[in-house]
């Protein structure tokens, strides 16, 4: 390890590191603009010039690797003179904009100019002006302020996966621009706002609304996906003004997805419910908490007295552990075991077969060091925008990524092998992979008889359609170019797999594959607290009803915790019907929602920003947060509402004074992470596969729906975040199908069609999307426009709307 000396301090550093890295580790400040620890080195701003002994010229610290015995001076006259000259150059064309610049007060250029800038300018010529670009609804640009550090360009290319910005022109004419008429559409785009050292790229929704020094920073956890990114809410008065990432190398590095960044816009939307409401003869009337709670308690109690099993409790998987746990406890107090948080799951055959709580099977930071990954049923960028970046890192480092998916959307990274097939062919495709693997000499005889009987008749197809053989070889490390005998491998299930009507088989086979080749196996959980709610046993009792059966055989009463039934449940039609038929629906909700039209009482609860609580993310990390702002209007944290509801119902054990007391009860006073590490387990009791599987089904030739949830429809908050709804991801609703399928059905692109599932039907426009396999129609779920349809995956009928001749 080379030893170097910086400003007379001696340090030993890793060979190959740069001067700036060494200085950073010693806490010696070197000014910089283009260098960023997570991006490649560009060395184009020259702000980091330092003096190196025996060098005639100053050297850029960010691009100069250390050599043994190197002597560096960062504050010598020579170095400072160089830095000051660079500063003067940078300011030549920089506008005197600070008072109207949104970056003012948190601007790297401002800060460094205080240290290195002159008090006046020697430049009297005209400054250059660069036209602003419209790069979408999330980021506003003031390109005259750009100093061409290219951090934004490098971020979108290296982290975002697509080069959506670039620099054109040279010298005086250099400017950053997107493709002609294109916006920046990356689902991680907001990070370039944080990266831009000047005010060239700033947040559009936040624009001109507050100054950095007015904002109070409060820590929280992003509530939209299983990653649980640590965030910082910037609060002014009692309003969340913006959300920025906090840094945690193990979770989000230093990024957050746009969903986590901009969903705060929904927190004060006009849709917020701020007073309790009771439906009186079909008319909503505002009321006070006392009467609303008593009303709810009486109605629930009436039903429970007759038969407690007539009640169904549905909890959003984005609720905190405390909320979910109290809902379960309340149900149990009423004698009812029908509690579930797995609202979008439809196959529950594995219930009671799990040994422990299902999780992702490895740590989030392990993903980037995987060498072989098989992702089953996941539209990666849609479901896990930021985790996808870890996969991207792995692939960049040489990992082979294989996909088994019903949609062929581009994950913005090279995919080694993929099988794209209709949802009902996925089980067979998976069985083929297992079969191909099990006949490899290395694994011969490793498979348990139960599993090998199961896949006995499966034939591994060859040909361009199927890459089962290739995926099996890749996972086991025996692909054509054998460079690894036992690669670090992972088999991961995405949301589509979990929502799949044959999840049991997919899970069992996935687990068998992982076990055979020694890969880690897990589920990329959908919501912020899916793992946590599982962990807190917010699941139906042994013989009680799950989220699906509760709707299939409608209950008399429902308690909904932050659920919009027709948008959050697997089968929208069933959900809406069950709510309409129920005698009493008690809804704890953040928003007034059309989906709650059949409720009888609405209790306004606080969203994540206004309550304290705990989330357990997909790797089992327990993260507690407190409220960033006070609840709006009459809203109350859901744990308090449930606690008081428990008291009104006279259920014992509901005397909690804080959410911490609730979480202490959940963890039984033990160390949460210790407990989590004991209980997280993806294995099945041996009977799992045998009972569950019907592997060799001939796939019948019927049209199926692929009802994915689009990125910005995932939960109640993002659905109401106006800026996100203006992005390119808010894809217009249509029945998307392969062009050959369209031709076969005899439709016109853009023509009106009627799609029906079960009893419901909707009129849509037929559109071409060649990412959809033949035999499938892609129709988004979690939308009120498609709420009349049924299962997210399942058969459907489609016919052209006849245009009557006039």
């Amino acid at each position: 390890m080379p030893t170097i000396e910086i400003d007379d301090k001696v340090i030993e550093v890793k060979a190959g590191s740069t001067i700036i890295e060494a200085a950073d580790s010693m806490g010696i400040p070197i000014p910089r603009f283009c260098y960023h620890k997570k991006l490649s080195v560009a060395a184009n701003c020259r702000m980091c010039l330092v003096q190196v002994e025996k060098m005639g010229k100053p050297l850029p610290a960010c691009a100069t690797p250390v050599t043994d015995g190197m002597k560096v001076f960062t504050r010598s006259q020579f170095a400072v003179k160089a830095q000051k000259s660079v500063m003067e150059f940078l300011l030549i064309n920089h506008p005197l904009d600070c008072p109207i610049c949104d970056q003012g007060g948190e601007c790297e250029l401002q800060d460094i100019a205080v240290g290195y800038g002159a008090s006046g300018s020697r430049y009297t010529e005209e400054k250059r002006v660069v036209l602003n670009k419209n790069i979408g609804p999330l980021i506003s640009t003031d390109m005259t302020r750009c100093i061409q550090c290219t951090r934004c360009v490098r971020f979108l290319k290296e982290v975002g996966g697509m080069m959506e910005l670039g620099m054109v022109g040279r010298g005086e004419h250099a400017e950053i621009t997107a493709y002609v008429d294109k916006s920046v559409d990356s689902e991680l785009s907001g990070n370039i706002i944080d990266l831009c050292p000047v005010g060239a790229l700033t947040s559009k929704p936040f624009r001109y609304s507050a100054r950095t020094w007015e904002l109070i920073r409060r820590h929280s956890i992003a509530p939209h996906d299983g990653l649980g990114s640590p965030i910082e809410m910037h609060v002014k008065g009692n309003t969340v003004m913006r959300v920025l990432p906090r840094e945690d190398e193990a979770i989000n590095e230093c990024w957050i997805s746009d969903r986590d960044r901009y969903s705060y816009e929904a927190l004060n939307s006009a849709d917020r419910l701020t007073t309790p409401m009771i439906k009186d003869n079909g008319v909503w009337v505002e009321t006070d908490w006392q009467s609303a709670l008593e009303f709810a308690a009486t109605r629930l109690n009436d039903i429970a007295r007759n038969n407690p099993q007539d009640i169904g409790v549905l909890v959003s998987p984005n609720s905190t552990m405390e909320e979910a746990y109290l809902a379960k406890k309340l149900a149990q107090g009423l004698g009812c075991g029908n509690v579930d948080h797995r609202l979008r799951q439809s196959d529950f055959r594995l219930d009671s077969k799990h040994i422990g709580t299902v999780w992702m099977g490895c740590n989030i930071s392990d993903v980037q060091s995987m060498e072989r990954v098989l992702v089953i049923g996941s539209n990666l960028r849609n479901e896990h925008p930021l985790l996808t970046h870890r996969l991207r890192k792995a692939v960049k480092a040489g990992a082979e990524l294989s996909l088994l998916n019903p949609i062929d959307d581009d994950p913005l990274m090279p995919v080694a092998h993929k099988t794209i097939c209709a949802p009902d062919a996925m089980v067979n495709a998976l069985a083929q992979i297992l079969k191909a693997m099990s006949v490899m000499p290395r694994y011969a005889g490793h498979l348990s008889p139960a599993v090998s009987n199961l896949i006995d008749k499966v034939k591994v197809q060859s040909g361009p359609q199927s890459s089962a053989q290739a995926i099996a070889e890749s996972l086991s490390g025996s692909s054509a170019s054998v460079d690894l005998v036992a690669p670090r491998a992972a088999v991961l299930l995405g949301n589509i797999a979990v929502h799949h009507p044959r999840y049991a088989e997919i899970y069992s086979l996935g687990e068998a594959i992982a076990e055979l080749c020694g890969a880690s196996f897990g589920v990329l959980s959908e919501a912020a607290n899916s793992v946590g709610a599982d962990f807190a046993q917010v699941l139906p009792n042994a013989d009680a009803m799950n989220a699906r059966t509760m709707l299939e055989s409608p209950r008399k009463g429902y308690l909904l915790v932050n659920v919009e039934p027709e948008l959050d449940c697997h089968n929208a039609h069933l959900a809406a019907k069950a709510m309409a038929e129920a005698e009493c629906v008690v809804a704890l909700t953040v928003f007034k929602s059309e989906a709650l039209r059949d409720a009888d009482v609405l209790l306004p609860i606080a969203p994540f920003s206004e309550t304290s609580g705990t989330f357990m993310n997909m790797e089992g990390r327990v993260q507690t947060f407190s409220a960033a702002v006070k609840p709006l209007g009459e809203c109350r944290p859901a744990w308090k509402v449930l606690r008081v509801l428990g008291n009104v119902l006279n259920i014992p054990g509901f005397d909690f004074d804080s959410s911490e007391q609730v979480s202490r009860e959940i963890f039984g006073g033990e160390d949460p992470s210790q407990l989590a590490s004991n209980r997280l387990n993806n294995h099945l009791y041996d009977s799992g596969v045998r009972d569950a599987a019907r592997v060799n089904d001939e796939t019948p030739n019927i049209l199926q729906r692929i009802g994915e949830i689009s990125l910005y429809q995932a939960d109640a908050l993002v659905r109401r975040a106006a800026p996100l709804q203006k992005t390119k991801y808010a894809v217009p609703l249509a029945a998307y199908m392969h062009h050959a399928q369209l031709a076969q059905l005899g439709f016109q692109a853009g023509g009106a069609v009627t799609v029906s599932q079960g009893n419901g039907s909707v009129s849509l426009m037929a559109q071409i999307d060649d990412h959809v396999p033949i035999g499938c129609i892609r129709i988004a779920a979690a939308l009120k426009e498609t709420a009349a349809l049924g299962d997210m995956f399942g058969p459907l009928e489609i016919k052209a709307v006849e245009i009557k001749a006039a």
Binding site: C98, P99, G104, R207, Y208, S209, R211, W213, E214
Partner: protein, 163 residues
């Protein structure tokens, strides 16, 4: 002993009283300088720091760009600003309040303003009947700016070479 006698004599002869009366008498005949406020006023410096005003450009556009520097510098926390992007894309305040019951008339806001928008005028005689009357809002401050622009401008021009 001697001093005691002297004191007694002095008090008997009302020496102190006469001295005092002499001073009064002198002022009785001196030139009067009482200012008959409000008909008369003392002279004022061009730098007088009185009631605030938000200035406008000659074309009627408000100067303030909502940079919030005045709000940040105000030691009495008397200024409250809310801002947004106006329809024409410029940065503007939606609320600009000065609470005159908090203001200590230090003039820092005027000094910090990059566009000479907030200024303290020479106006010193204003009143409020209720406490709320002394919360000056944006329209009131702009009205001040409109009304006194000529004088404000003259004062600033005169002072410019010292700044």
């Amino acid at each position: 002993m001697f001093n005691r006698i002297k004191d007694v004599l002095r008090s008997l002869m009302l020496v102190e009283l006469l001295k005092g009366m002499m001073l009064t008498g002198r002022y009785l005949f001196a030139r009067k300088i009482t200012v008959q406020y409000p008909e008369e006023r003392t002279p004022q410096s061009g730098r007088f720091r009185g009631l605030h005003a938000l200035r406008l450009y000659p074309n009627g556009e408000e100067r303030c760009i909502a940079c919030k520097l005045c709000e940040a510098v105000c030691p009495a926390l008397a200024i409250t600003i809310e801002s947004e992007q106006r329809d024409d894309g410029t940065r503007r305040t939606t609320r600009y309040d000065i609470d005159l019951t908090k203001c200590i008339f230090c003039g820092f806001c005027e000094e910090s303003c990059p566009v000479d928008s907030i200024v303290e005028t020479r106006v010193l005689d204003y009143h409020g009947e209720k406490r709320g009357d002394l919360l000056y809002t944006k329209p009131m401050l702009l009205e001040m700016g409109r009304k006194y622009e000529t004088q404000i401008a003259t004062d600033r021009t005169a002072d410019a070479k010292f700044r």
